[in-house]
Symmetry: C2
Subunit: 278 residues, 2 copies
């Protein structure tokens, strides 16, 4: 056994420690929640999504790279050990469809589906251009409130729509947040890292209402535009992330977001449905 | 046995005929493809998504109404009979998480996950306002090319981004399509009907490139903003539907779309990842 945060004597990034899975055969793995990525109730949703993707990434039958991922948060992940099972539901010539589940004591906690593909060169075009913003070095790093444990693993530089102060910042007419963000300490971007970043936005309803309230992601979808080359080109530099909600009502709101690389490449688009009470 | 298109002597809408499922016990149903909703390869993706949702709608353990649905098209649905299996993966106090599969001869053809919820009154706000467009009666109905069988079940009135002509309409710098659309013949909107409408846009790459090419939806997500009251208020009037892609590259593009009711209520937001070759 190695100490937490080390493997074979080498220093392990807290992110890699959090998504670490031990293979138990047949597409089944065991892992454990990491206190470093704790949220209000259970872990940060992004780390859970990354862990489910990791179950596919490590699977011996995997082909290609992820193009689509949907994670459904069925219940809170309890502190401690969990089991991840990744099953290739269907493998075609160039695409592969996955069903993934996270269970604790035999109870389903999180479900996911993913599509992997062997990508090939085609015509390309990006319509969602990166907005014109100051470079990361020109924007101050700010912290979330100290009790938001998971946020300490991200270096966040808000350009608009920062976290409303606890005293109540007043309502806002627009739910847009834009920030430069990367892992802290810096970590070269890979598919689990990008997946986790897709959930980095605090709930849009906080911004609209100017206050925190109970809220949590129910379903998260990621479309991966980046391939391995795009991730390598990005490295560990900050990603520009922008999120906005479309509709709040009857207990739920949706959110759509974009993640661009430092040089303007669209790395991912991501959408989620969020429960809220207030 | 009744004749196709009739049930107990009464005329059945082709949509209801297409999504009809016969319960076989244990959350399993059998259905059959409908020639009326045929697409290039297999049925129209919207009718498959609606059929999978119907498997949950008809399940005796279902609670509430849909808030989220993701459908993964793993392979083409062959003409003829299929089996739909809907399994409640987890039921909480006010939410329920579903796993759904469509199989043919024991092979997985389509997978889906859905979240249902008992909705409750909360603060509400719509940020994605309906664009200012002429009313449906002021816009001409146009048809897709005659060989697109499924499209004959929809009355489409294009406001921008119509289907490029077969002769080649030239490239377009923007992938936006906006149309008024409803079932033909008219049919009161319900959750399967709204689900099917979410896939009504022809592939965005056709518009950008000014020509048709092989393309197909790989993954479709629907966030339902409408509850039963909103659907009843909409009735069988046209829905305003607008779609746009964010990024095309290395064999795939994504699309985000909005569906508003005639009076401006946001009924659904929907996203998809699409395979293309060209």
């Amino acid at each position: 056994m190695s100490e937490p945060g080390t493997r074979g004597g080498a220093q392990v990034h807290p992110f890699d420690d959090a998504i670490a899975l031990a293979p138990r055969g047949g597409g089944t793995y065991t892992g454990a929640t990491s206190p470093a990525y704790a949220n209000m109730v259970g872990p940060y949703g992004g780390i859970t999504a990354a862990t489910l993707l990791e179950g596919v990434e490590r699977h011996p039958e995997r082909i290609g790279t992820p193009v689509s991922l949907t994670v459904n948060y069925a219940g809170p992940v309890g502190d401690g050990e969990f089991t991840v099972t990744a099953r290739p539901a269907r493998t075609n010539r160039s695409t592969q469809h996955w069903s993934v589940e996270l269970t604790q004591d035999g109870v389903v906690v999180t479900t996911a589906t993913a599509v992997y593909a062997r990508r090939r060169d085609t015509w390309e075009s990006t319509e969602a251009a990166m907005p014109d913003v100051p470079p990361p070095g020109d924007v101050l790093v700010s912290a979330m409130p100290d009790y938001v444990q998971w946020a300490k693993n991200y270096e966040m530089r808000y350009l608009e729509g920062p976290v409303p102060s606890l005293e109540g910042a007043g309502e806002s007419a627009d739910s847009t947040t834009t920030l430069w963000v990367r892992d802290a300490p810096a970590r070269p971007l890979d598919f689990p890292g990008l997946t986790s970043l897709c959930d980095v936005f605090y709930p849009r309803v906080f911004l609209r209402r100017g206050q925190a309230m109970p809220a949590g992601t129910i379903s998260l979808t990621v479309y991966f535009h980046a391939d391995a080359d795009a991730l390598a080109a990005q490295g560990d530099r900050p990603v520009l992330a922008r999120a906005r909600a479309n509709r709040f009502g009857r207990g739920y709101f949706d959110q759509s977001a974009f993640l661009w690389g430092t040089d303007g490449a669209l790395l991912a688009t991501t959408h989620q449905l969020v429960y809220f009470k207030g």
